[in-house]
């Protein structure tokens, strides 16, 4: 018989802020989230609850009830990170841990409880450990996942245990909402007079299914162990990081590079064993006098080569100013991606692609990856929107040829040309303090921007103008305008 322990973290967003040392939590405080068009309270602390505020209220109502209420928008990403950290932490209780998002963990504790002196003791142990971490918890232990979750969320005590084989009895007193049913079904059940799970036992399951749907009977069956509902544990993502502490501080560049080489070899070895690579590496150097210095490098593709890590770090390391030496180092790999094994650098093309990526990395790490770009086609006919520049790192270059003759230089916004002798296009004009005389012109090419999207919806007439001075310019005018202004939109080769 499996035994499942469910950890419920009812106030996870508040606990996260408490752990950060947020002083606002001493008064009435709530975490809010935007639902539809309204801000609603998601979690409120004890002081706020005592003032009459409830979770689920709109922010305006809550402010009216409790004018001193302080709020903070919820941050699902950080909350998820905290939950994932706890997922790794739960390894200490049981080797089989599953996430139960957004606010819970499920542990398969079959055969583990005796190590803590029993199930109740194990529950209290987990509770103590979590309260040391300033996290509020409720724990339920039962034969099935559904029952453990129900006991954790609706149990009377902090640690509610259903003895083996007595799951149904333990659940009987709990309200039907404990079966994780939708609110609508709960109210329908209440209208039929079925408020506790015990009431459901007295009904025929066929009747229940006919009236409330199969979902209700399935949940009930899963909670009472009639239908299988196993915990599928998944190990937390491994962290690829290594640190080194030295008895004496070091300061020479070659010593630093030796340390980095050892750390990189260790991390890259692990990455390579798992057939993974990292897109970013973060190095922290703790100096004895000036504290932590953080350095980061990026790669254009997942990398597990310690030589490449060293090469890219050589520039930031050489910039590091160390006076009294550093004695603590940590290198961590981030943005882990699987590496597809391919025959490396065998053909000429693969070698060239490698060299190209290495160059992108070298340039990107100094100039910033957003400054190394490639062209990417866009589905648009307006000249300046036919393409865009995207980051070269991580993008695969594609280009679809557009069929139009276009200048090789395009000026956005177009540059004003002063008309000396009018005409269509002007016979004589000045641009960039140079005088031009039109020799031949070809046009107009009329382009109407997409009026529903573009900022400038004016129709444009473009002319290809060969000037007597030699330059081939792309002149632009807006035919609807009162002023017949001319602009230079581009230059042909």
């Amino acid at each position: 018989m499996p035994r499942i322990l469910s950890i419920w973290l009812p106030q996870l967003p508040l606990d996260r802020l408490t752990r950060q040392g947020d002083t606002r939590l001493s008064g009435a405080f709530a975490v809010i989230a935007e639902e539809g068009n309204a801000w609603r309270l998601v979690h409120a602390n004890d002081a706020a609850l005592a003032a009459g505020v409830k979770a689920g209220q709109s922010l305006a109502d809550a402010r009216a009830i409790c004018p001193d209420l302080l709020t903070e928008p919820s941050d699902p990403v950080r909350e998820d990170l905290l939950l994932r950290a706890l997922w790794r932490w739960a390894d200490g209780l049981s080797p089989r841990v599953a996430l139960d998002p957004p606010d819970g963990l499920l542990l398969d504790i079959t055969g583990c409880a005796h190590l803590f002196g029993g199930e109740v003791e194990m529950g209290h142990e987990a509770l103590t450990r979590l309260s040391d971490l300033q996290i509020q918890t409720q724990i339920g232990i039962a034969d099935t996942k559904g029952a453990a979750q129900a006991l954790a969320r609706f149990g009377a005590r902090e640690v509610s245990v259903a003895q083996p084989g007595q799951t149904a009895d333990a659940l009987a007193a709990l309200p039907v909402a404990a079966l994780a049913l939708p609110d609508k079904m709960v109210s329908e059940l209440a209208r039929a007079g079925l408020t506790t799970i015990g009431h459901l036992y007295q009904q025929k399951s066929a009747e229940l299914a006919r009236r409330f749907g199969l979902r209700l009977t399935r949940q009930l069956g899963a909670a009472s162990g009639v239908e299988p509902d196993p915990v599928t544990p998944k190990a937390a993502d491994p962290t690829y990081a290594a640190r080194m502490t030295l008895p004496e501080p070091i300061g020479f560049l070659e010593d630093l590079e030796n340390v980095l080489q050892r750390l990189a070899a260790q991390i890259c070895g692990r990455l390579e064993n798992d057939q993974r690579g990292a897109r970013r590496f973060q190095l922290t150097v703790r100096c004895v006098d000036t504290g932590d210095h953080h350095m980061g490098i990026g790669f254009a593709r997942p990398c597990s080569d310690p030589e490449a890590v060293l090469r890219q770090f050589s520039h930031p390391l050489s910039k590091l100013e160390i006076e009294y030496g550093a004695d603590w180092f940590r290198l961590s790999a981030e943005h882990i991606e699987p590496i597809r094994l391919k025959q490396g650098s065998f053909g000429e093309d693969a070698k060239r692609a490698d060299q190209r990526l290495i160059l992108i990395e070298t340039l990107g790490n100094r100039l910033g990856f957003d400054h190394i770009r490639i062209f990417h086609p866009r589905d648009n006919h307006v000249p300046e929107h036919e393409f865009e520049q995207i980051e070269a790192a991580g993008a695969s270059p594609v280009w679809q040829a557009a069929p139009r003759p276009r200048p090789i230089r395009l000026f956005t916004p177009p540059e004003f040309a002063q008309v000396e002798q009018p005409g269509r296009p002007p016979l004589n004009f000045k641009w960039r303090r140079m005088s031009f005389t039109t020799d031949r012109a070809h046009g107009p090419e009329r382009i109407t921007p997409r009026w529903y999207r573009e900022d400038d919806p004016r129709t444009r007439d473009y002319w290809r103008v060969q000037t007597q001075e030699g330059r081939r310019l792309w002149l632009l005018t807006y035919p609807g305008d009162e002023t017949e202004d001319w602009y230079v939109a581009g230059e042909f080769p």
Partner: protein, 213 residues
């Protein structure tokens, strides 16, 4: 004194691209315009862009276009696609003169023989030019430096002045002002007019030259 040579070449008897493979040192822009690989070349004038584009097309490898924001942002791939393989282009936007020179140095030095076009807003000193030249020799690629300012005494292999010319077809005057091996001259290049769809880099090398003083 500038030595002016007159050269003529027909549309048909241009050197095929295969010939470049046998003589890896020189890059052939057609009509006898030769650019040595592993060197930097300076280009000035209003037609400098096209000269660089044609050289990059003949180089047939990854191309890095390094420049300040104003130069990089005006490049139009829809116009360049007639001559270049746009998917092989990498744009490097530097924010200062120091970054420009550093990026060009790294790109030229990198193994793989990249074609590096450096959009220089002003001019190069002898020291800077010499460093780029050494980097190009190490990497084996080719460096094209588009100088917007005056050209000084520099270490580049050749210096070109390129101007567009008013003619029926797109045409340019290319004047080689300086060549380390004495290869100066003057060329009048004529394009074939607007490119048709689907033409790739090779076709635009078919330029006819006509005698010009």
């Amino acid at each position: 004194m500038r030595q002016v040579k007159m050269r003529q070449a027909e549309l048909q008897n241009l050197i095929p691209l295969g010939a470049i493979l046998h003589r890896p040192k020189a890059l052939d822009l057609g009509a006898g315009v030769q650019l040595r690989r592993g060197r930097t070349h300076e280009v000035t004038g209003a037609g400098a862009d096209m000269f660089a584009v044609l050289a990059a097309a003949a180089h047939e490898q990854s191309l890095l276009w390094i420049g300040l924001h104003r130069d990089i942002a005006t490049l139009n791939p829809v116009g360049l696609q007639a001559n270049l393989k746009v998917e092989q282009m990498i744009l490097v936007e530097a924010v200062s003169r120091g970054e420009l020179l550093w990026a060009a140095d790294q790109a030229l030095r990198a193994p793989g023989g990249f074609c590096v076009i450096l959009d220089m807003p002003d001019t190069l000193s002898l020291k800077e030019s010499r460093r780029l030249q050494l980097a190009a020799e190490q990497g084996g690629g080719i460096g094209l430096i588009l100088l917007r300012g005056p050209a000084n005494t520099t270490a580049a292999q050749t210096r070109w002045d390129c101007q567009p010319v008013c003619a029926e077809q797109p045409a340019w005057d290319w004047i080689c002002l300086k060549g380390k091996n004495g290869e100066t001259g003057r060329w009048h290049m004529t394009g074939k007019g607007p490119q048709k769809r689907g033409q790739n880099a090779k076709d635009t090398l078919h330029m006819a030259t006509a005698a010009s003083a």
